[in-house]
């Protein structure tokens, strides 16, 4: 131990002799380590954000949208015709064993008025199950009940953005807001969820009982009073997702009397799958960034090797003298190896600091969330030490194998 401390001291002195050269050599490692830490941080931050967004959507989610139908040879786009009904929702909930909950939704743009304030938002007609499916919790008050839906009660639950714009920070529970000239009592406020993976504000919403929404606010579909905009379905488990998709498709085809060979008049999307694809692409991204950054670490290592080779040549006489006064091969080897590792570790430590700082700067100025883990710091530290050993070994070995006479005579 004492010997190691002594050799580190000797190494530091040798590095001090050529300050600029040592600093420039370290710069390679500093940049490499900092790049690895910052890049992995950016990648991990992106992954984490996507994970959070997936969490905010709800788990095991399937969305059923009214599909395109062909009318007189013209194919109409998705949602052009209201083919899904509240009865479909009930049937899916009742008859598909892999489905836990189903929530029909209708939506439309509305202007909400409270006193002198008003706010344009998106009204959604839903059932209480919707809250469970979307993993909503309440900031204030409570959600409306099945009875409210049955009775078409004029009660509303506000998203946080809406509550904020109408009521500021105060609790709006029990207050009356007016939507399309219909007074509604505020039952509660949802806990904010933030942005959706698609970048929408999930809190800029107002939830109404689906019955009230169709009858009093959005207006019923002329062809079918029970038509809905979409169905939110929650499968009983992540493993049951595929099974649920098949069951829903079979059931809806049967209910909509679609003959075999004809296209579905609805679209089923596995939301979780969509976002998991995003998540894995973010992970691939972070691995890629890390790999590119590692290249600079290796370049830094080559810089160390280069400088150590120069140093061994420059100090040939010194090596010869040390050998003459009794340095064994391993003494010379360890001297130069410690010097290389000191360079790379010092560079590594500075690089960690620079990497942490720059990832903070990135998240501050570029508004990207970064996530620097202790593991990546540890890894960078160990890796920079390994770079020192790996690239320092050859020059050190070269020094240790010098012939003492030739070394002493070296001009």
């Amino acid at each position: 131990m004492k010997k190691i401390v002594a050799s580190i001291k000797i190494a530091l002195r040798a590095l001090k002799v050529n300050r600029l050269r040592s600093a420039l050599t370290m710069l390679g490692i500093i940049i490499g380590v900092a790049a690895v830490i910052a890049m992995v941080g950016v990648g991990a931050g992106a992954t984490k954000r996507i994970q959070e967004q997936i969490q905010s959507i709800g788990s095991n989610l399937i969305i059923v949208l009214p599909g395109s139908i062909t009318s007189n040879g013209v194919r109409l786009g998705s949602g052009a015709v209201a083919t899904l009904t509240q009865d479909d929702a009930k049937a899916i909930a009742a008859e598909c064993p892999s489905v836990a909950l189903t929530a029909p939704t209708v939506r439309g743009a509305v202007q909400v008025v409270y006193g002198i304030n008003n706010w344009a938002t998106n009204a959604q007609g839903v059932t209480p199950d919707y809250m469970t499916i979307r993993d909503y919790t309440l900031l204030y008050g409570q959600f409306f009940t099945t009875q409210d839906v049955d009775a078409a009660a004029k009660t509303a639950v506000l998203g946080e953005t809406v509550a904020q714009n109408l009521f500021g920070d105060s609790d709006p529970t029990g207050q009356a807001v007016i939507i399309k000239n219909v007074p509604f009592t505020v039952a509660g406020v949802l806990t904010p969820k933030g942005q959706s993976p698609a970048g929408q504000d999930q809190d800029d919403v107002i939830l109404l009982p689906i019955s009230t929404a169709t009858q009093k606010v959005l207006g019923a579909n002329k062809a079918n009073a029970k038509a809905v905009g979409s169905l939110m379905v929650q499968a009983i488990s992540p493993q049951a997702m595929d099974q649920a998709l098949q069951e829903i498709e079979a059931l809806l085809r049967e209910r909509h009397r679609i003959l075999p060979g004809l296209d579905d008049d609805f679209t089923i999307r596995n939301l979780t799958e969509v976002f998991e694809a995003q998540e894995s692409s973010a992970q691939v991204m972070s691995i890629l960034l890390g790999a590119i950054a590692s290249v600079s670490l290796i370049v830094g290592g080559i810089g160390i090797m280069n400088i150590m080779l120069v140093s061994v040549t420059e100090r040939t006489r010194e090596i010869g003298l040390r050998q003459a006064v009794g340095a064994k091969m391993r003494d010379i080897l360890s001297q130069f190896l410690v010097e290389a590792v000191t360079l790379s570790l010092l560079g590594g430590i500075i690089g960690i600091v620079v990497g942490l700082t720059s990832s903070l700067l990135i998240s501050h100025f570029a508004q990207w969330s970064t996530e620097v883990s202790l593991l990546s710091i540890l890894l960078a530290f160990v890796f920079s030490a390994l770079v020192g050993v790996f690239f320092g070994y050859y020059p050190a070995r070269k020094a240790a194998f010098l012939d003492p006479i030739e070394a002493l005579r070296y001009e």
């Binding site: 002594a6 003298l321 003494d331």
Partner: protein, 252 residues
């Protein structure tokens, strides 16, 4: 007196391409403990090669070399390093001090490769510097010392391990004549007072005149081995020599 060095039929060949060069051609001699020997010869005489072999920096092609009763020919690289560390002190023509390193730390260098504690290393380095009259220059770096002072630091370094022999290869070659005599005075004192065996290689008969015994080499062979009846005394010569310059010229 017992022999500290015994050499028998020592041969050293080099190979220059396909041509073998016989540098030392079957040399035999002994050096007694506590003797002061000069090894003389023109360049190319094999004098330097012999010094390297005596100093365990090189190995003979054949023959026997016994140093302090140890047969050096059978030792590997690290064992030779150990011998150099424990038994031999080197003084070179070009001093070979580590630049930007204080005199004390230069002197400590051989002890770095032993198990000596830092405190004892420093203590012994101080003593060695005191022995060469540089006690007040411990913290000076080589660039701040005159040539003679640098060589004295080198001598202190060779002393610090309490070696059996000190090998000096042209120790006065890079110094003016008066400083050279000063160095020889130190060697003579160490030889007499500490009983250290001195072996000095030189081409200068004036330097050889301070030794007790002079061995001459020509063309890889021992030509003359004479014991000087009346070696010159460096101390006395110094008194005769006019002080050409102030004792210490120290930059900065």
């Amino acid at each position: 007196m017992a022999s500290v060095i015994e050499i028998k039929d020592l041969v050293k060949d080099y190979r220059l391409g396909d041509v073998p060069v016989h540098v030392l051609k079957s040399i035999s001699f002994e050096i007694e403990r506590g003797d002061f020997v000069s090894i003389m010869g023109p360049s190319g005489s094999g004098k330097s090669t012999l010094m390297y072999i005596l100093g365990c920096l090189d190995k003979a092609t054949s023959g026997v070399y016994m140093l302090d009763g140890i047969s050096v020919g059978n030792l590997n690289r690290d064992q030779l390093a150990e011998i150099r560390n424990k038994k031999i002190g080197f003084v070179f023509q070009q001093f070979n001090l580590l630049a930007r390193t204080s005199a004390a730390e230069n002197v400590e260098l051989p002890l770095m490769y032993t198990d000596t504690s830092a405190r004892e290393r420093h203590e012994r380095a101080r003593k060695a510097l005191l022995a060469v009259g540089l006690a007040d220059r411990e913290e000076y770096q080589p660039s701040q010392l005159s040539g003679g002072q640098q060589q004295r630091v080198a001598i202190a370094r060779s002393l610090v391990n309490d070696p059996s022999i000190i090998l000096a290869d042209e120790p006065t070659g890079a110094l003016d004549s008066r400083t050279g005599v000063e160095i020889m005075a130190i060697f003579q004192r160490l030889n007499r007072e500490e009983g250290i065996t001195m072996i000095v290689a030189t081409h200068d008969p004036d330097v050889a005149a301070y030794s007790n015994r002079s061995i001459h080499f020509i063309d890889g062979k021992l030509r003359l081995d004479e014991r000087l009846a009346q070696p010159r005394q460096a101390r006395k010569d110094l008194e005769q020599l006019p002080a050409e310059r102030p004792e210490e010229i120290v930059s900065s």
